[in-house]
Amino acid sequence: MADKVRFIIERQDGPNDKPYTQEFDVDYRPGLNVVAALMEIQKNPVTVDGKRVPPVTWECNCLEKVCGACMMVINGRARQACCALVDEIQQPIHLAPARTFPVIRDLLIDRSVMFESLKKIQGWVELDGSWEVKDAPIQNPYTAQTAYEISHCMTCGCCLEACPNVGPQSDFIGPAPTVQAYLFNLHPLGKFDAPKRLNALMEKGGITSCGNSQNCVEVCPKSIKLTTYLAQLNRDVNLQALKNIFNF
């Protein structure tokens, strides 16, 4: 193993600037991950050509793969940088921003579109209020387990970056926000508003825009069975369409 790890980083000074690449060497140490390497670059932002440059900009919080912040494209694949261990990926390591989203600077991107999509699918339970009402309903533990799986979605955007149908050519809101509708339709109180969510998914950018390429499930860092739930939602949406027509 070499003492240095080479990073080739696609940088961009601002939202409207042209991208360029810079290369950095970081001292190898066991367990080194991409975020830790970027932190080292912060301490000494000098390129391999010996040029002192502004440190690389990126987003991270938890470094435990639960917050979803540090998603970027690493060696061509969208993933969380904190758990990208240098030992397990090919070197030199290429880092680039996930360009499905607007780039703010370097690896920092604007993912607000996903949070807007969660509004469209009405991703919440219509609670009367946060005061005490009554005991919550008993839930089937198996259904709850499915809900738990889907509820791991950290809105990181890997699946949108990997999906060929998310982009300027389509209005598709993407796998992650779509599948959240399924989550709330599973909940004993949330399901009261299932028709609203299914109707929202009939609209432009909804589930009909999914081309079933299956890329999403390949890249989901939380191993959520996205395609399974997209298929079930597709059935639910069709059924809802029939209900709408025949008014039952």
Partner: protein, 603 residues
């Protein structure tokens, strides 16, 4: 739709569990919220809480009681928590769980479909509700969803990727707004508010490597401290016994591992030594965190029995059925495999204690008002509820509960408080200008120091002197070193002058706040000449650490007569140093008694 100008405006800084619950409460009471956060609120640090949330649900036939939860919390906190406040929290706990359940938090359930409960440290009953091993994430998401609903209704305006810089007081000294900076466009703006709630979390980053997120830097707390807010009990820093040591961060291995039967051991004389079970027969592996951390530290550092003589011990789950582990702990076991490359279902994990949580924080009354009128604090950034040591799974509870208290009180103050004059446009602009000038000055810094390297040094310093074992020599030395760091801060050089997302310049500003906060922790520890909860101080004799006849270190005892009081820290603007005083608090309900986890608790 035109905004209703008569509506009360509450500024909430921080979108973790406490901030989001406060937001919901304000909205339900008809107020409007400006919600400020370093990140999309869904990415707040609350999501790192793993093991669960305590509430006396008593669904396991164990005859648990709210009183027992109350007593465990007070006893676990070594009698330094306000008992009236704690009582309010434990009584509300079961109601909060039912609310979370209605909101859609996917709690783990029993075969009958009710909420499952697990064991946690310092408690003899199953009392911890959990969603696998990602309870904080699940609770945060449910609240994020409810706040999004209020956002759609127009009651919440989110300012995500905005950094709180300081509060603005009117001429009567009442907090009436704040200055914040957009972290992407770098725009600095002043905001008016009827009440400001800080819910900015803990200061873990003051120690460099810790279990906290990179955003948990305590900078906001330090900023208001420098503007006159009192800090309480900052010396009580929880060291979590079981974390995966890492160079970028120490990753938490939940106490739920021990709750579900995990055992801690090292080799001694060639055989596994389950030292917690031997030292503390009554609680075994489920002793509270301060006790477990000190034991692990002793075994590794003083006895030299760490794995391969390094600072590591085993946390062993390999004897437990792997299907059971998957259901109860799946998320974190996956994390361990991912970051360490070994399967904890098959081989014991290697762990060591790490800085984890701050019991101390901004002083608040029981309604979460600070000493500055119009400014409130809520969640880990306040000092309430945990005394000298927090019980596992009480943090999600205090975060949630404090939000349900601070939100309504913020509205109460907005409606009926003695707020004095409105901020004029000139006052708002003056406050904005001041922050702008400070920021512009940072951009011109061209010294030889790197802010990230200084941060690293500060972390090493704090771990060396103010962590598991403390003594007055070390604490004095640490204060001297911190003052030097503060001077060296002036000599920082900036490499980034960009007008877009300038993370370096913002970090430089945060770092100064962090150094000043580190001084409150260190000074608080220096002045408290006793051992209590997470604060363990070694006796000095002739200027050296004292050992007894068996060669064991001698620690100071708990001194209720002099120190069963809240540490209050105020900032001296002239010297920039912390000034320490002490304040009485209410401990009238449960009479203080010795804390000893080797034997079953006596009430």
């Amino acid at each position: 739709m035109a905004k209703d100008m008569s509506k009360k405006k509450i500024a909430i800084v921080g979108g973790g569990i406490s901030g989001l619950l406060a937001t919901i409460k304000v909205c339900e009471l008809g107020g409007e919220v400006d919600l400020f956060s370093y990140c999309p609120v869904k990415r707040s640090h609350s999501l790192c809480a793993q093991g669960g949330i305590n509430a006396c649900m008593d669904t396991k036939g164990e005859h648990d009681s709210i009183y027992e939860h109350f007593d465990d919390t007070v006893y676990g906190g070594d009698f330094l928590a306000d008992q009236i406040a704690v009582k309010g929290m434990v009584e509300a706990a079961p109601k909060l769980i039912k609310m979370f359940d209605r909101m859609g938090v996917p709690f783990t359930r029993t075969s009958e479909g009710v909420l499952d409960l697990r064991n946690f440290g310092g408690q003899k009953h199953k009392r911890t509700c959990f969603a696998g091993s990602t309870t904080g994430q699940q609770i945060l998401y449910a609240l994020d969803e409810q706040v999004r609903r209020w956002e759609v209704k127009g009651s919440v305006t989110k300012y995500e990727f905005w950094e709180f810089v300081r509060i603005i007081k009117n001429k009567e000294g009442v907090c009436r707004g704040l200055v914040a900076q957009n972290m992407n466009t770098m725009e600095i703006r002043a905001f008016k508010a009827d009440t400001v709630i800080l819910a900015t979390g803990g200061p873990g980053q003051v120690f460099g490597r810790c279990t906290a997120s990179t955003i948990c830097n305590g900078s906001a707390v330090s900023a208001v401290y420098q503007q006159g807010a009192e800090i309480a009990n900052p010396e009580f820093i929880q060291i979590h016994p079981t974390a995966i040591p890492g160079s970028d961060k120490n990753r938490l291995m939940s106490e739920a591992c021990r709750g579900e039967g995990g055992r801690v051991w090292v080799y001694k004389d060639g055989k596994p030594w389950y030292f917690l079970e031997e030292m503390y027969p009554a609680y075994g592996n489920l002793v509270p965190r301060d006790v477990a951390s000190r034991a692990i530290y002793k075994v590794c550092v003083h006895m030299g029995l760490g794995i391969n003589k390094e600072n590591r011990v085993y946390l062993d789950l390999s004897h437990i059925d792997s299907g059971y582990l998957e259901r109860k702990l799946g998320g974190i076991l996956e994390m361990y495999s991912e970051f360490v490359g070994q399967d904890p279902r098959k081989v014991p994990m290697e762990i060591f204690p790490s800085v984890h949580y701050s019991m101390g924080g901004i002083w608040v009354d029981r309604k979460h008002n600070t000493n500055i009128p119009g400014l409130m604090a809520s969640g880990e950034c306040d000092y309430q509820y945990h005394g000298a040591n927090r019980l596992g799974a009480n943090s999600l509870l205090s975060a949630a509960y404090s939000g349900t208290v601070s939100g309504p009180e913020a509205m109460n103050w907005a409606k009926t408080g003695n707020k004095g004059s409105e901020l004029t446009d000139a006052e708002l602009e003056a406050a904005r200008r001041e922050v702008q000038n400070e920021y512009d000055k940072i951009l011109t810094m061209n010294g030889s120091e790197n802010a990230h390297k200084l941060h690293h040094e500060m972390g090493d310093l704090m771990y060396k002197y103010v962590a598991i074992e403390r003594d007055n020599n070390g604490l004095d030395a640490c204060l001297v070193e911190l003052k030097k760091l503060l001077q060296r801060w002036d000599n920082i050089g900036i490499t980034d002058h960009s007008p877009v997302a300038n993370q370096e310049a913002m970090f430089v500003r945060q770092l100064r706040n962090m150094i000043l906060y580190a001084m409150t922790i260190t000074k608080g520890a220096r002045m408290r000449d006793e051992s209590r909860g997470a604060h363990a101080k070694i006796v000095l004799e002739n200027g050296k650490q004292k050992h007894d006849a068996d060669g064991e270190l001698v620690f100071m005892g708990r001194d209720d007569k002099n120190f069963m009081r809240t540490t209050i820290v105020t900032y001296d603007p002239k010297t920039e140093e912390p000034i320490i005083s002490y304040r009485e608090f209410d401990h009238s309900l449960i009479k203080p008694r010795a804390r000893n986890y080797a034997v079953a608790k006596k009430e």
